[in-house]
């Protein structure tokens, strides 16, 4: 079973891995065009796309680890090249999430005040450019795993089937690729490996991260309960704008959980990448992310004090709560439903 999951997930990685780079280029183009045209609606659309890219980058990253596992018994692929790609991808992932987070703040402020704070949209542009640069680097390094011929530094492909005749101290353009094949066995130089060592060996890192994960979960869930119950008819006398005020607290809890969750994943990737409930959790996170964006920007219920929300909004509220409960269920049941623990 795990191999079937891994094969499907490898396909998913090869399919989705274009989203962070191509998506960011499109979103940045849209955002710049919107600023030139001074078009508010277009600016918001671009910010929404940047948020969605941040959401989709999560399965891109985690499916990459499954793809890696699936390639272990293929000696023609360089383990070093994969590790270098993984480190680059983690950096790109982190910055993409941060760009998505700042884009979300801009959207939240725009919904409240009609415009984002001065400097926030330029900050999104800078962050997205930086994220794009890191992701493009990760993508290039990822491409080199199967296509060593595109490497700038051929001498680094020592683990490839036919070692290049160009041996020697050729200057490396890619940090970390100077290692020879023998050195690739010691993986301590890689950031992902260092995080993993720390998470596994430190007596308190994992329990502390778990504790923060549970505190963050409670905070997020409390906020989402209030916001969604308001749409479903509780607190009807309250304007939605006033409940909307709470969303950043939900984001705070979610941010803590994304960081600690990634520490678990990078810490013990094998435990998650072969586990079906983990992928269910990611799927429900995608749904929950889409719902969260809707809650942040939707217009209909905004001024509807005392009025009933539309059926669409109610369906969104129900699906939001169900998705978060499913995320929680899959997460808590991971050790029991999966086969990897």
């Amino acid at each position: 079973m795990p191999s079937i999951t891994a094969i499907n997930v490898t396909h998913l990685h090869l399919l989705l891995n274009h989203v962070p780079t191509l998506g960011s280029i499109a979103a940045l183009g849209l955002l710049l065009l919107a600023l030139i045209r001074r078009n508010e609606a277009m600016t918001h659309a671009a910010l929404e796309v940047i948020f969605v890219i941040a959401v989709v980058t999560l399965p891109v990253y985690v499916s990459g680890v499954a793809a890696h596992r699936n390639m272990r018994d293929r000696p023609e692929l360089s383990e070093t090249a994969i590790r270098v790609h993984q480190d680059a991808a983690l950096a790109g992932f982190a910055l993409t999430e941060f760009a998505g987070f700042v884009a979300w703040i801009a959207l939240w402020q725009s919904r409240r005040r009609g415009h984002a704070a001065r400097g926030l949209v330029p900050a999104v542009i800078l962050l997205s450019f930086a994220a794009l640069a890191l992701m493009a680097r990760a993508a290039t390094l990822g491409g080199e795993i199967r296509h060593p011929e595109i490497r700038a530094d051929l001498s680094a492909s020592a683990a490839a089937p036919a070692p290049s005749p160009v041996e020697g101290p050729a200057p490396s353009t890619v940090e970390g690729s100077r290692r020879s094949g023998a050195e690739a066995d010691s993986t301590e130089q890689f950031v992902t490996s260092a995080i993993s060592m720390y998470m596994v060996n430190s007596p308190w890192a994992w329990p502390a991260a778990e504790t923060i994960h549970f505190l963050g979960l409670s905070l997020s869930f409390g906020v989402l309960l209030a916001v969604n119950l308001r749409i479903l008819g509780l607190m009807k006398q309250v304007a939605f704008a006033d409940v909307h005020r709470l969303l950043p607290w939900g984001m705070l809890g979610f941010g803590a959980n994304l960081i600690t969750g990634m520490l678990f994943f990078v810490g013990q990737p094998g435990q998650y990448s072969t586990s079906a409930p983990f992928y269910w959790k990611v799927v429900f996170l995608m749904i929950a992310g889409a719902n969260f964006l809707y809650l942040t920007v939707f217009k209909k219920a905004w001024a509807a004090e005392g009025l009933d929300s539309s059926l669409t909004d109610k369906a969104m509220a129900v699906s939001s709560l169900v998705a978060w409960l499913a995320v929680l269920y899959a997460g808590r049941m991971l050790p029991f439903l999966g086969n990897a623990f």
């Binding site: 504790t211 309960l225 607190m235 808590r332 049941m333």
Partner: protein, 155 residues
């Protein structure tokens, strides 16, 4: 008494059954109950501390039925989790600390509840109530932390 609880057939089932409906489901329900209980509590505490102050306090009355549901679920599932290893947990310091923190958290809810139901509309929240809200946030944080760490401190 603890030994009797631990040897009850329910405790044995929870300890030894490979069924997903035994320990896994009880643990998951305990976590969901926690999300409702702690989340809704914190929400109210944040309002008392001035977040979303435009929302009248009376609009938050729905929180208490939600808290009641969360509390009932977690007392029930918590009791089942305790049954499993009653002799070791019942006498362990970390577990007793967690119980004290849970009791303290629930205790802060009582005066907060009467404040929410009986205060005049729209007064500034008094500093006493603010202190209560801070105590509530901290007590729940402690209770969740202690509960989560039990998994690592206790066999």
């Amino acid at each position: 008494m603890l030994a009797w609880l631990e040897s009850s057939s329910l405790a044995v089932w929870l300890r030894e059954s490979p069924s997903l409906w035994a320990l896994p489901t009880v643990l998951t329900l305990h976590t969901m109950g926690m999300a409702v209980l702690v989340g809704a509590s914190w929400l109210l505490d944040l309002r008392l501390l001035g977040i979303s102050r435009n929302v009248p306090l009376s609009a938050f009355r729905w929180v208490f039925p939600a808290l009641k549901v969360g509390l009932i679920v977690n007392v029930a599932t918590g009791f089942l989790l305790f049954l499993r290893t009653a002799t070791t947990w019942g006498t362990s310091i970390p577990f007793l600390i967690k119980m004290c923190l849970v009791v303290a958290s629930v205790a802060t809810l009582m005066p907060i509840r009467s404040y929410v139901f009986h205060s005049e509309p729209e007064p500034e929240v008094s500093s006493n109530v603010r202190l209560l809200a801070i105590a509530s946030i901290l007590a729940w944080t402690g209770a969740v932390t202690a509960g989560r760490l039990l998994a690592y401190l206790m066999p």
